[in-house]
Symmetry: D3
Subunit: 170 residues, 6 copies
């Protein structure tokens, strides 16, 4: 049995993340999905709460035939204890998936195997672009799984990001 770990801020969870999870699903039996910066919300960079992001991820990954654990990870602002923090909050895992240089370095110093993928860079850009499109009132829903679009609508997420971005009329 192999358990993988994949972390992102998922602001929001989008098609790039989804393709990545599908890819990982072919390599592991179970997957821990860490929701990073879990305490942040209501900013343009981090509009959604951890609870809202849990709902997005759980509903989206439901279509894969894969046992998943979705775990919010609050920031500790101490890189040197971050790996221990993650390990204490999550079911134990055998391999981490990341292309973030800091995450890779921290896991490798702790002796944990990291799988890198070129798919990651595209994702990072995608998240920021989707938030911009929400702020600007452009089309964004085609870039996320349908379940995610439903959650964003249910919580009136576009209005929220537009307001906290200070873009509503000023």
């Amino acid at each position: 049995m192999t358990r993988g770990f994949y972390i992102g801020r998922f602001q929001p969870y989008h098609n790039g993340h989804h393709a990545m999870v599908e890819h990982i699903a072919g390599e592991v039996d179970e997957l821990v999905l860490g929701i990073g910066s879990a305490g942040d919300s209501h900013t343009e960079h981090d509009p959604f709460t951890a609870g809202e992001r849990i709902m997005m991820v759980e509903k989206a990954v439901d279509e894969f035939d894969l046992m998943t654990y979705v775990v919010p990870i609050e920031d500790l602002n101490r890189n040197s204890v971050w790996v221990s923090h993650v390990q204490s909050m999550c079911p134990s895992f055998d391999v981490a998936y990341s292309n973030n240089p800091l995450v890779i370095q921290l896991f490798e110093e702790a002796g944990i195997e990291v799988n890198q993928s070129t798919m990651f860079d595209r994702e990072r850009l995608a998240g920021s672009e989707i938030r911009e499109r929400m702020v600007e009132g452009e089309r964004w829903a085609d870039r996320v799984p349908e379940a995610v679009a439903g959650v964003v609508r249910e919580i009136d997420g576009v209005t929220r990001i537009q307001r906290v971005a200070g873009s509503d009329g000023s």
Copy 2:
């Protein structure tokens, strides 16, 4: 669609919790299971990490036909903001289940409906008794779902609680 919220420390998740979840499963469509005091571990009162408890709960509730979200909740040590903290970390819910007087009071002051049940008291006692049995080397595994017993064995949990309880020979 109704979503419920049920919180416990789950140190460990046992048959009393399990009966409670089965009971709630008949009343709601989805259930958020909050893992309280998520940052505590390695003490006699709180031996298991949040990650270990997530694994216990997820594996045990898998047998019910119920969409569940298992969410670790770190203590903030500020009762007055606890409800907001829980709400931001969890998918939104319509009703909370608890028999803890503080939890009931906090939710009710926040205008959230709370369902009480006499089943709760028995649970609380059960958790403390199971930990004592582990420390004393007595039989405990028949008081938890089989999946939980498996997790405790995998992480050598009994040795841990015996050591941190200072009970190993002194």
Copy 3:
């Protein structure tokens, strides 16, 4: 111009505190009233929020001819920086009033004059006794200024302390 400093948890502000403030009013021109453990609430030992205690104190001291500043002081759990914390949160003061051995020691190590009074001990006892009376459903309102009794009733404070004390029938 002399400004004094007087700190208490004020759970609740009662006749003993009130007599003390009246006494201090004869010695200083202005008084800073620090509300200690400002973040604590909803327990038997600390039932009321800082906001509720501010209201109690402000309304009660209004009858004295004294410029007052009521300032909530959150705990830092670091005795060695507590005096600096208090000083940064409050208008500067010339003399502190306390009979608490720790407070006296910390202020004196920082070179701040402390006035002690035997009135203090009676107060400390009074607070704990009033909370017990609330929990037990006995008469308490005659032991606090009328304005304080009004605040407690407005927020249904007796029900709260009875519930969090676990005394409501179980």
Copy 4:
């Protein structure tokens, strides 16, 4: 009886704030003045401690015929619990005054009425301009109530901001 809530960093409290409070005084019976980022001080952006700002505000609003409560609010760096934090630290209020998009969004999601005013924008600019004038050694005292200018002089505030801005001679 109506109680309002108005929050600002008040670095320093100036004529724009003062006009705003005068305006609000016509609409409410009592006013809670929240001092935001209470823990910040000794930087160019936040030169004054909470205690110094309390003194500025209390002395300035004394001229209005209005019951006021001046309450320092420490940052929690968790937007999702900020409203609860404010509510626990302050006397309860019926309406909030703000033009800050984040504050408005947070209060509205919590079901609290917010009054906006175009006066707010001018204030925000004014604060930053006054600090720049202090740093540059230009005239600033005509832009704040007289009581505020007195406090700044008493604490030698201009020297402080000039030094921490690194502007003294480099």
Copy 5:
């Protein structure tokens, strides 16, 4: 080259600790001395600040021919990240010395070798007994290295512990 790690609260550093360091000095080339609960002070259980304890330890161990590093370790209140916290604050070490069940368990789960010694129990008792003697005004100085007695006198430590213990006359 072997580097050891030995942690204690050192409230105060006494002859039992000193004998232990002498013993360890025969086994390692360098020794990291961790000062636990570094943020605690001014209580009967933890009377001395980290800075005062650093001075006690540095001056006392100066007599040994051993390279030492004395490092204050603030509590994080998260057992699961404690080892990482210690490792990030200290020069790297090969072996830890402890008889504290929790410390042993945490280091062993992290794969770090721990040397136990029966000398430890006597120490723990000794610290508590010395503090009691200080509070009661009995002889204590013969139970600590001479350098430590000098530091306690210099900071008037006996008066402090007597006051915060509330033992001065009540």
Copy 6:
């Protein structure tokens, strides 16, 4: 007996710091070296842990005939209590050495003598330049004491800073 205090982030400790310590050694009998931002590591601005920096400093200053105390100082993010925090973590000192405007202001407001030196500016620049050279793969070792270069090599520090700076190949 005079004890001095000199604080820096020491990322890494370099020839400029070393010259400064040598200079101070001529003025004091003992020196406390504070390691600032002790909790930060694994970033381009703060690559090394407190433990690694302690080792750099201790080994480098060993050549001077000076009693030194090397003390990690974690950030509190509260300027108004920073001096108390430093004082509680360090052996007491008579004079501070700094050219940082904020540090000077905070110490002076607390009534502590500060010695300024023009040597400081050069240091600050030097640290940032050395880190850039490490990232770019240029020569840096001639700008730090030999003992420091040894520590950086032992922990493979150049690889770490290159990775977390995101500079390895992207």
